[in-house]
Subunit: 447 residues, 2 copies
């Protein structure tokens, strides 16, 4: 079913979308901080939001808008202030942001969705934001995805972007996405945001269901440190500009679109995880033989989130005991005599019994995967320092080359495969290693 | 109800108990590694065990014994090898350990409970263990608790011990306990073990219920990094040697005994958390206003386990946004307009609104609590290095002075109080900060 190809253009790859990113003066650093994505016609809109009880004003706003009508024309996103824990004033600022954008675009306010990321407890700098809207609208272009991707980052070391194209009835259908997040691990300046565009025609309920299922297999299966932000949100627009037949029921066309959407989400999710603060590599956990996919996913997530497994990978230590321990405490019943574990090509445990293996070679495998991934990342770093929160954009790579390198950086995960029995349930999860830099970044960002 | 006092003697403080700890040659370092606790008469026995699907042979053994008959005379514990993931041979070794101890004590094998801690996947060195049993039995004394406490540690920096005494019908009743664990965060050499002795007479079901409830308020409310060991176990013996009236039903006497048991468990649990690898302080989270104690406990646990909160405390950063974020994602519904947060005496947030506070003074509070705790810990350290796993015992403090200092080290927690509404539910949880040393210890212990 994976008959798609990677194309350029991010969220502006699908037909009928424009995007822009500018510096509006919200970040003290003067880095880009305001992004806009526009569909030239009404688009079906779906959203998935943080499950936290403590939510930013923009999250409440988008949920209200989409509950009322699952459609939108534009997504405005600011970086710098999260506009979370800002009470009634925060709500007013959110409404004002949407209204100003709508006016500039000649839209109704509820055709504009909004997202914020930055410091919790700080109001968005509403004057600067509103003053920036005309420039932002004027900057909209059909190749503006990269600029938008840059304007939504905070502590991210790299931008996150992807676009895929497939054929439906001999016409191209495209899905593009950009995201930000250094792994939900820095709520002052973090948050996971994802914006997806699609030019297929799809019914609202189907699109929302697809997005939810894709999220479960991607963003919900990654972990950097288990923390969830007040502002997490994923928004997806589908505008029908591909002029392919409308997808209104389950079937082969819907399956194909959902598979491609899932792939876009998985790419962005892995990209966020790889950029987890202090991480030197991506870890991919595959669990098979569980009673259900849900059970397998839970075991995979638990292993991916284990501080001990993460520390061991950073120490290049093929420590099967920690993997077995984490799998065992996931809350999913299995017989320990059924537990088998492989790391890359190394069999560490079979049916509950530790196996002899070449520890030095297995350690080398861990080291090598990290080196391959890190050297790719180094070519596309936005900054060398988390601490300034001032992103110096490197323009030594073109957007297209940057996307190639980003894919390369995700192509060398540390692979851990776990089998827990003969069930048909399988699942994948992604994590990153736990390094000194994680602690450094999160402890030294003091008030 | 807290009308007890701290006394000396640990697990040998209650009447009719003896204990010993020796070097049997199980640890490569030559540090003590074999401990025995003996009741002079049959004792009611209760146990709480790891919920992991991957369990050591000793855990299965104890569960089987106690299901069959909730009574025991002795607890044997070895450190060095966990005897987990060792298959059928591990089971045989566990049975042989119990049988040899029983023979030396002239008991039936099922009167001996066993526990192991050390490297996962390694068989216990059964020959050395069996050869050591006669010396171990010969070393049993009524003041042997401290030696036993030392023989069960692995990566612990300090021993963990407590004894409390109260009066029931004008006669003293005592509960003592020892524990080990550097926070379940090092499954190669970790595991949380707790052994409790009591000289009250109490019915088996009541004793088991009390232990389970006490565990829920203590060991289940601590977190260092969320990892659970294959060998975690808590065993409690009550031998009736206080000659106080048997407690067979719920009522004031049962409540009094349970409160004291809970206090013993909380002390040991906090002591383990304070000794979390790399920790510089103890963090105590109090949650009030929830719909139930269960809900409050879950929020408290989530905040205590947040890597972001832990990093912020290590960075001496009074970062209320991270506390609010962690509380919000605990999975317990509350209105964010009800959320109030204090840190020590500093009010950080009231009814969902951030409050102005003296950040420098709040940061100083965090620093001061860590310094007070760390300077107490420094006086009773068993070793300065985790890496050797070779504990150099410092004998510059007497057992009684050491217990005083241990209590002192727990007396300066960083206190975070969270109110989420007007419900009657309240809960406490304990954690520690996340430092560079956590990563160092867990990454550099390579194969």
């Amino acid at each position: 079913m994976a008959d798609w190809q990677v194309i350029e253009g991010g969220v502006t790859a699908p037909k009928g979308f424009r995007a822009a990113g500018i510096t509006a003066g919200l970040k003290p650093s003067g880095a880009p901080d305001l992004a806009l994505i526009l569909s030239d016609c009404d688009a079906i809109a779906a959203g998935v939001f943080t499950t936290s009880q403590v939510r930013a004003a923009c999250v409440d706003y988008c949920q209200d808008v989409l509950e009322n009508k699952p459609a939108a024309r534009a997504i405005l996103c600011n970086a710098g202030q999260a506009n979370a824990c800002t009470g009634e004033q925060g709500k007013q600022d959110a409404l004002a942001s949407a209204a100003t954008t709508a006016t500039a675009l000649h839209l109704a306010p509820d055709q504009v969705l909004i997202a914020s990321t930055g410091v919790i407890g700080q109001r968005v700098k509403i004057d600067a934001l509103q003053a920036g809207i005309p420039d932002l609208v004027a900057a909209l272009t059909t190749d503006g995805s990269d600029k938008a991707a840059r304007a939504i980052v905070t502590t991210d070391l790299v931008t996150k972007s992807i676009a895929l194209e497939t054929q439906m009835g001999n016409r191209p259908v495209r899905i593009g996405g950009i995201a930000k997040g250094s792994g939900m691990i820095h709520p002052d300046m973090a948050t996971m945001l994802g914006f997806i565009t699609c030019d297929a025609a799809v019914s609202p309920q189907l699109w929302q269901d697809m997005l939810r299922r894709a999220t479960e297999k991607s963003f919900n299966q990654i972990t950097v440190d288990g923390d969830t932000s007040t502002n997490d949100c994923l928004l997806a627009l589908a505008n029908g500009e591909s002029r392919t037949p409308a997808i209104t029921t389950a079937g082969p066309a819907a399956d194909k679109l959902e598979a491609m959407l899932t792939e876009v989400c998985i790419h962005l999710a892995k990209s966020i995880t790889r950029d987890g603060e202090g991480a030197t590599c991506l870890i991919e956990i595959e669990v098979t033989g569980a009673m259900s996919d849900r059970a397998a996913n839970k075991i995979a997530r638990t292993v991916a989130g284990s501080s001990l497994v993460k520390s061991a990978v950073f120490g290049r230590d093929p420590n099967w005991g920690r993997i077995a321990g984490a799998a065992g405490r996931a809350g999913i019943p299995f017989e320990q005599s059924d537990l088998s574990i492989t790391l890359g090509n190394f069999t560490l445990m079979t049916h509950g019994t530790p196996q002899p293996f070449d520890r030095a070679a297995a350690s080398h495998y861990l080291k090598q995967q990290a080196e391959l991934s890190t050297s790719a990342m180094a070519k596309i770093l936005l900054t060398n320092s988390h601490h300034s929160h001032d992103l110096q954009l490197t323009d030594t790579q073109t957007p297209s080359a940057r996307q190639q390198i980003e894919i390369e950086a995700l192509s060398h995960p540390v692979k851990i495969a776990i089998n827990v029995g003969t069930g048909i349930g399988k699942g994948l999860a992604w994590g990153c290693d736990l390094s000194y830099d994680y602690v450094k970044i999160n402890a030294e960002y003091t008030t």
